[in-house]
Symmetry: C2
Subunit: 350 residues, 2 copies
């Protein structure tokens, strides 16, 4: 059983909070709608009541959007599907969270602000016997890596990137689905709050004690790695990011991947939010990831995933993908636009 | 004023606890004796009362070793100078800590176990108006790096290593002293508990939230970087360590060094505690550190520091140093055995 299932084995009925941000600024909400095993019964967005999710984006299901928890159908949990800058709790959500608890819903949140530390919510949750699940709170028993992730039965495939927000989680989850469709016994290792919410378990690798970064990834791989033939590990950040490279490096060495998929956004030239830093050329990324991985575990960039969402027509997108494959010296595609086949072939062959 | 000075500007009188471990298994105690601005008035080691520190190691001062706090002279603080595996508090130290608090001493400790969380010590400290300084507890306002450490006036020199415990802190502190002897306005950026205890301030970079690894280094450099011409930054771990590379990578990108000194132990071939992992060849370390640094800030390995403590005679040590310099393609020496000149020349020329 996963955390996405209720005790009876049926998917849990979940309401997803995405006020004023749905869908394009609500990455967690759309990720949960697309990839989680939950039965999403409603999205909360006070700006868009009376619509359905698919009105806003064709790749989303026909889930109703309602203005508040008062208008939502029966559910087992309320999931906070937006993450404001800084990770705070927006007080305009308080009524909905209160109503959900009073209706007996668990609350699932990935904020830096822990709902368990909120006196009102903690008291109300105790009174109504529901759980406040702060997925970004690391558990107490994390430790340093032992260098043993490669010992599991599964092959490990890690998504790595040229920057943050280039699609590493999406690529991992699309590869997971595509592999399962081919009958491959594949699993997913989440490393960030959205991935954790989607899969219902996992360590928030960007929130653990720095010494335990690799260890927190290794722990997850050891826990499930013998149950699968392939594990897709969600990468974070970039190995040349001025702020987040530590997490990237810890995941690279903690996961001990057999293969890597390099994720990139077409046309991207500088690091998002750090615009004085140019992205190195693509072959330099390949060299860096491979040469840094090798002393701990030999690994190759076997394929590339290019996000061409900002490229209008398919022909231009195809040209961008071909150019990216040339730079990489490996197969590449836009997995959302053109499907996962090229990448999955490369990954499974490796 | 630094934390090593009492209010009047005189060095603080400190007793250093090192029960049963002094000197060779008490790295923090010996580091404090050699490098801190404290006036160390006694070392506690119940196995060696009646001796002086210099009886045990020639490079240590003539500080008396006593059996317990009852035998120690007047002091301003008791500093815990040993760090057991796991970072716990050894109950055999409780009497000494209690006595010290009752005598009005602050307690300085770098344990994972925070003295402020110990009910007896917290109550006693409040009663006697003394401070429990848990230097390994990160402060609350840490954040992500902005990529701005290179903007300070000082040149940044980072010690990097082939493994943990190869002398990065010692090399940084010896370079600091040697630079000051030459009249260079040099400062030190500590990143671990011993460095923090020696210098009396600093962020425990290995204990911060992983996303803030680089930011916690950058914060220190921005705080003091315009006051000095050169800053020696204490490195941690190794970029190819299965467990600790995340911290190494965060320090590398957070510090944005202008120059790096590669620290190594003569004859070392495998990673300590992870003996199935071979150390890569020295030139590979140079390539990795330089190529990983470059996209954030160009940096070169300008010199090497070789620890030859296990090499018996000076001639063999000199041969080892010469061979290391050849591998590096840069000047090298054993800074403890032969002095800092070669490395300092290379660092200051750069």
């Amino acid at each position: 059983m996963t955390a996405a299932q209720a005790d009876g084995g049926d998917p849990r009925r979940v309401v997803v909070l995405a006020h004023e941000k749905f869908p394009d600024a609500a990455k967690t909400a759309t990720g949960v709608l697309k990839y989680a095993d939950y039965d999403v019964v409603a999205v909360l967005d006070r700006d868009k009541p009376g619509t359905v999710a698919s009105d806003h984006r064709a790749d989303l299901p026909d889930v109703p959007v309602v203005a508040s928890m008062d208008d939502a159908p029966a559910a087992d949990a309320l999931l906070v599907g937006i993450a404001p800058i800084g990770g705070g709790f927006d007080e305009s959500w308080r009524d909905d969270v209160r109503t959900a608890i009073e209706r007996g819903c668990d609350i699932i949140a990935g904020l830096h602000y822990f709902l368990n530390d909120d006196e009102e919510f903690a008291a109300l949750a105790a009174e109504h016997g529901v759980e406040l699940n702060d997925v970004r709170k690391p558990h107490e028993d994390l430790s340093v890596a032992q260098g043993t992730a490669a010992d599991v039965d599964a092959d490990i495939v890690l998504t790595v990137g040229t920057d943050c927000s280039v699609g590493k989680m999406t690529v991992s989850l699309e590869l997971l689905e595509a592999a399962r469709e081919r009958g491959v016994d594949a699993g997913f290792i989440p490393t960030g709050q959205t991935g954790i919410m989607i899969s219902g378990w996992g360590n928030p690798v960007d929130r653990v004690v720095s010494d335990f970064t690799a260890g927190s990834v290794e722990e997850m791989i050891l826990e499930v790695g013998d149950e699968y033939d392939v594990l897709f590990v969600e990468g974070q950040g970039s190995i040349v990011h001025p702020a987040y490279s530590a997490v990237t490096c810890g995941i690279l060495h903690g996961a001990m991947p057999d293969a890597m998929v390099l994720c990139h956004v077409a046309g991207k030239e500088v690091i998002h939010g750090y615009e004085s830093f140019d992205l190195p050329p693509i072959p330099e990324y390949v060299d860096l990831y491979e040469s840094l991985a090798a002393p701990v575990h030999e690994s190759s960039v076997v394929a590339g995933a290019l996000n061409t969402a900002d490229v209008d027509d398919d022909e231009a997108a195809r040209d961008a993908v071909d150019a990216y494959a040339d730079e990489l010296g490996a197969p590449a595609t836009d997995i959302v636009r053109f499907g996962a086949d090229e990448i999955l072939d490369a990954v499974l062959e490796d």
